[in-house]
Symmetry: D2
Subunit: 160 residues, 4 copies
């Protein structure tokens, strides 16, 4: 039977707060026995989450946009080299049982909407008032907000 796979999405160019949230999320995901899936690059939220997961002895999958491993986080155990560029965001979404999103970058919110549209549960952290208001207007039962990592993990347990 396949493992539970949890996606963590967020900016490659992350703010310090987003970075530390992602690292703690990665750690908690590993401690829960879930597999972490990220965009795999050695940057920002992807890198932080993978690092956190490895510190806790977890298993990490990185779904890379390029056609080799040149830009991979050293904390990725299983690189999936897609060669399909930003279209790999859809692979991240479809492969995850549930998605966490840290931050409000263009790419991140684009992926949040893609995930909710594909029927996935998404839990958001580090949102701004404007992004929260905008996302709440969709009235989606698949978009959730959490103010911290432990609340986010608790919410995930309810949804899985």
């Amino acid at each position: 039977m396949s493992r539970i796979i949890i996606g963590v999405m967020g900016p490659g160019n992350a703010a310090p707060e987003e970075y530390s949230t992602a690292e703690e999320l990665g750690k908690k995901i590993a401690e829960a026995g879930w597999v972490l899936l990220t965009g795999g690059r050695n940057a920002g939220v992807m890198s932080a989450a993978s690092h956190g997961a490895k510190q806790a002895g977890g298993l990490t999958v990185g779904v890379l946009p390029g056609d080799d491993r040149s830009d991979m986080s050293p904390d990725v155990d299983i690189p999936v080299v897609t060669g399909i560029g930003s279209a790999r965001n859809n692979v991240n979404v479809l492969s995850s049982d549930l998605v966490f999103a840290c931050g409000v970058g263009m790419g991140t919110i684009s992926e949040v909407l893609l995930a909710a549209k594909a029927g996935k549960q998404v839990i958001l952290l580090n949102q701004t008032p404007a992004s929260k208001k905008f996302l709440e207007d969709f009235n989606s039962d698949r978009i959730h907000f959490a103010s911290g990592v432990s609340g986010a993990i608790q919410k995930a347990r309810q949804l899985l």
Copy 2:
């Protein structure tokens, strides 16, 4: 030399106002001598824009998500059958010289953000106050708003 290609994005499940905006946009795009590119399905904004463009004698490209033409708008001249599902949104974005977006559906805003992130100019119509506020917060010089089709076309001429 390649033709100028203008993308029109918007919900498959469009409101009447979005539908009529898209149809008029398609017509004006064809009259300008530009090639129209849409998501190709026989639904909502895609279908309306293609219909408008064909009425004005234009050329229409439809970038389909599925692996055949079963769900294609009858107004598509050149179907591109990608077989890559929602990942084809990125093909739409990369293939367009400029993107118009009608409406505020999850898929549409996801594509707007993907386009702006990829460096494309995007002109939005039929926005809500919350979506406008949210998108303005990115302070992007690639995201523009227009209140009607003629203003949108005029803006496009400036940006091309």
Copy 3:
């Protein structure tokens, strides 16, 4: 109603004979009123077929692997910028009503097999005895051989 779309596949690094076959094929495709679809790059068979089609006043679609038009043949009217690398071969195959293949390069034969597997009719030119023997062993009613361009076009008319 959508136009008839004919794919021409072959090596980017083409031998002179493959190049001239592709150019003549492109010309005949345009003269038949069909739309030519190629891999779009400014190289080998793709470039030759597009050049032939434009000389005869045809319409050319180029399905590019990269995420911009930097490597595009100047004879492409409608660039489709996929950003999905070699995975775009499948887009070429699915988008074509029928596929011509010139030559025996690894990429070309890979695409021939992909096309036949996807249920497309494929007409091959410039084959070697070993490639012909190998392909005949599949006993596929979708793989055809032609010894010259006029025979290939005649075969295409029967199959369409």
Copy 4:
């Protein structure tokens, strides 16, 4: 540091001999401590290799073509749900450090050629005289033949 990932490719509709070769390959891959990567479906060579690897306590990745897990082999630990159809063959190839191919189906040989073109080492089993002759004609230093599983594994150790 990332794990060594070994791809096993072959027909979904496998002959008994191909099935047993794939199962034994999967077992030996797991025993070597490598991660097995397949096309993930519950069919033929993919399924057999995954089954063999799980019997030996290995870790299995399945790169699925569809947009959900409905057709997944029960022996896949980590499903990667691509939603990009046959274009996922390129993901299999790019993600593997080395590729084994069992059999001579159209899809299999298409993938072998794609892999060799992408610079990957490929080891083939269960070939016919015609497929062997055809593939040898490329004079590629990336295409290798083995007559049995232990020879194939030994060859893989030399190439990695």
